[in-house]
C-alpha cells in the first residue's frame, strides 16, 4: 500500500495519477490522501513527464474534472480505478453506463451538476453600501466543492455589479474586472445585513403561491429543506402550508 497525498484539485490528482499509471500501480494499492497539506509522493514513483503516454477517451476528462468536485474522499480512488480500467481493460468502458464504477462516477457527476445549478439558483444577494459604494453580498451553502465552477456565471451575468459570495467551501469576489477566490468562512456573515427589496420579494412569493394546489413533496424535491435557512422567502413556507390546509378544510365543511 502506498500513500499519495494530493491537493484538493484536479491538476494535482492528474499529475499523481499519471505517475501511478506509469509505475503500473493497481488501484487497490493506493491510499489517496487529501488533507490540505501540499502534495507529497512516494519517491519510487516514476517522474512526471510531458509525454502523452496514455490515450484516454475524450469524455473522461470532463467527467473527472466534475467528479473531483464531489464532496467524498472516495472520489480520488474511484477516478483512478476508472482510469486504470480504461487503460488496461476496456477503452470503451465509459460507454457502459450500467458498469458499477461508471455508474457511481456518473451519479457523482450528476450531483455536482445539480449542486452548481442550485448554486446559480439559490444565491440571494443583499445590496449594501460600503464607503458610498454599492456592493452585493450573499451567503450560500453548497454541498460539494462547486464555488469555482459556479462563480463565473455570476461574473457573466452581473458583471456591472461588485459582488462577494461567501460559503463554507470558499468565497468568490468580483471587483468589476476580476474574479478572485478566498478561503471559506464558517458562519453566515451576511445574516445581520438588511435589504429592503427582500420584503417585496416575500410579498411576491406569497402572492404567486396558489393555496388551492398544495404539493409539498413536489416543492421539497426541488427546494430541499437544507437550503431553506439560506433563502429569505423560506421563512414563509410553514405558515403558507398551514393556511392552505385550513382553506381546504374550510371548503370541505
Amino acid at each position: 500500500m502506498i500513500q499519495i497525498s494530493i491537493e484538493n484539485n484536479f491538476t494535482s490528482w492528474r499529475g499523481a495519477a499519471r505517475r501511478c499509471l506509469q509505475s503500473e500501480i493497481a488501484p487497490d494499492e493506493i491510499l489517496w490522501i487529501c488533507d490540505g497539506r501540499n502534495g507529497l509522493f512516494e519517491s519510487n514513483l516514476a517522474e512526471e513527464t510531458d509525454e502523452q503516454i496514455f490515450k484516454v477517451p475524450l469524455d473522461f476528462l470532463p467527467l473527472a474534472e466534475t467528479v473531483v468536485c464531489f464532496d467524498a474522499a472516495e472520489r480520488w480512488s474511484l477516478l483512478y480505478g476508472l482510469l486504470f480500467r480504461i487503460v488496461h481493460e476496456n477503452k470503451n468502458l465509459l460507454h457502459i453506463e450500467s458498469d458499477d464504477d461508471v455508474r457511481r462516477a456518473r451519479l457523482m457527476e450528476k450531483a455536482v451538476y445539480r449542486d452548481v445549478h442550485k448554486f446559480h439558483a439559490f444565491v440571494r444577494f443583499r445590496r449594501i453600501e460600503i464607503d458610498g459604494k454599492e456592493i452585493f453580498v450573499a451567503w450560500h451553502e453548497p454541498h460539494h466543492h462547486t464555488v469555482m465552477r459556479s462563480a463565473p456565471f455570476f461574473a457573466r451575468r452581473f458583471g456591472a455589479m461588485r459582488f462577494s459570495i461567501f460559503t463554507p467551501k470558499g468565497c468568490a469576489h468580483w471587483n468589476l474586472e476580476n474574479l478572485t477566490f478566498s478561503e471559506g468562512v464558517v458562519s453566515d456573515v451576511v445574516a445581520p445585513l438588511r435589504d429592503a427589496t427582500e420584503d417585496f420579494w416575500l410579498v411576491y412569493y406569497r402572492s404567486i403561491f396558489n393555496p388551492f394546489r398544495l404539493k409539498i413533496n413536489a416543492m421539497k424535491k426541488e427546494l430541499p429543506v437544507r437550503h431553506w435557512r439560506t433563502l429569505p422567502e423560506a421563512v414563509l413556507i410553514p405558515a403558507l402550508i398551514r393556511q392552505a390546509k385550513e382553506l381546504k378544510s374550510k371548503k370541505r365543511r
Binding site: H95, F200, V203, Y204, M219, E222, L236
Partner: protein, 456 residues
Amino acid sequence: MKVLRRSIYVKLHLTVSSCFTLAILFHLRRRVNLKTVMELICKLEILADAAKYDASCASSGSHRKRSKHGIGNTEGIGICHSYTPDGRCISLLKLLLTNVCIWDCAYCINRKSSSVNRARFTPEEVVKLTMDFYKRNYIEGLFLSSGIIQSSDYTMEQLIAVAKKLREEENFGGYIHLKAAPGASPELLLEAGKYADRLSANIEMPVQEDLDKLAPEKTLMTIENTMADVKSGIDAAKDLTKKNGDAPKFARAGQSTQIVVGATESSDTTILHKAESLYRKFDLRRVYYSAFTPIENTNPLLSKLPTPLMREHRLYEADWLIRHYGFTASEITHGAKAENLDLEKDPKLSWALRHRDYFPIDVNRASARQLLRVPGLGARNAARILKIRHYHQIKLEDLAKLRVRMANAKWFVITADYNPNVYQLDAEKLEERLKPKAIQPSLFDSFTNTALSGEL
C-alpha cells in the same frame, strides 16, 4: 429576541391584508415615503396574485450576452430560483400590468364582472421591480401579461413600453416573456418580438363552442391569427440569420399557449388533438395545461368541482409523448375506455396495455423508436441502451442499474438473460397488477389521496 422578531415578521407577512403593517415596518426601518411603499406593496400583491393562473414560468431557449454596462444575460438553460409550496417553480417575476379588463371571460378571475380588487402598475414600477429582483438573483427575468384595457392594440403598446424601457434604458439582458394580446396588430407583435424572448397568446379553450359560451369576445380564429403573426416574425428572423449569418433577435425562445382544463365538458381527447394541431401549425414550444379551480362567485356555466390535478399531470405526460416520444394524439387516445386519460395509469402504460401485440421488445435489438414505446423507459435511458449494447449484452440487472422503472418495464422487454415476467404479457391479470397499490389511508390523511392530488 431574534426569534421573536422573526415570528412577528412572518405573521405580519401573512395577515390577510398585510399591506399596511408591512408598510409601517418599512417606514420604521428606512425613512422612505410610506404612501408610495404601501401602494406598491398592495399593487404587487394584487397583480402577482392575478398572474398566478398562467402556468408558464419557463426561461429556457434564449441566448443573449450581457451588454457592456448592462445587467443580465440568458444562457439557454432557464433557472428556477425558488419554488412555492404548490410545487411550482419561480423563474420569472410574473405580473399583470393591470387586472382591469374589458372582456368578460367566465373562467378568468380578472373578468370584467369579477369582484376582485383592481390595480395598475406604471411601466416604471414594473421596470424597477424587475431590476431590483434580478440584481439580487431572485429571478431570470419578467413575464408580463395584462388584462385588456381599451383595446388589444392599446394593451400591447403598454406591454411593449415596459419591455422597451428594460432593454433600452436599463440595458437589461435577462429573459422577457410578453403576453401577445389576441387580435393585436401584426406591427405591434413584430415590435414586441424585438424585445421579448418569448411571446404567448393563450387559447384557453380547445373548441369554439366553449369560447362562445364562456368568452364571447374571443374567437379561436383571432387567437390563431395572432399565433400565425408571431410565427411569421420568428420565421423571418430565422431566414435572415440563414442568409446573413445574423439578424435582429426575435422571440428566440419561441411561443407558447395555455389551455384551461376541466372548466367545460371538453375531453382530454379534444384537448390533445387541439394541442397537436397547434404544435404543427405554429411550431409552438409548449402548450400549458391549467386545471380549473372554481373560486368564489364563479360563473354558473362552469364546472362546480375542481379538476383533479392528476388530470392536468396526465395531459402533460401525453403532451410529452407527442413532443419527444413519437406518439400522435390519436394513438394516445384511440381505443381508450373513456374520452379522458386514465388517472391511474400514465398514458404510455395505457397505450402499451392496449397494444400488447407490439411487445415484447428485445432491448438488445430494438430501434430507438421501439425502445421509446416501452413503459417505464425514458428517452435518456433509451439513448444509453443504444450505446451500451455495442459493447455489452443488456440484462435485466443492467436495466435496473440504469434506474429504468422495472415495475412497469419488466413485462414488456426481452433481455439477454431469462426474464420470466414477459410470459405474463398476454395475461388478463396484467392490467390489475399494474394498478397503483391502494394506499392505506392514515387517520390524518384520509381525504388526500396522493395519486389524485398529483403529488408525485
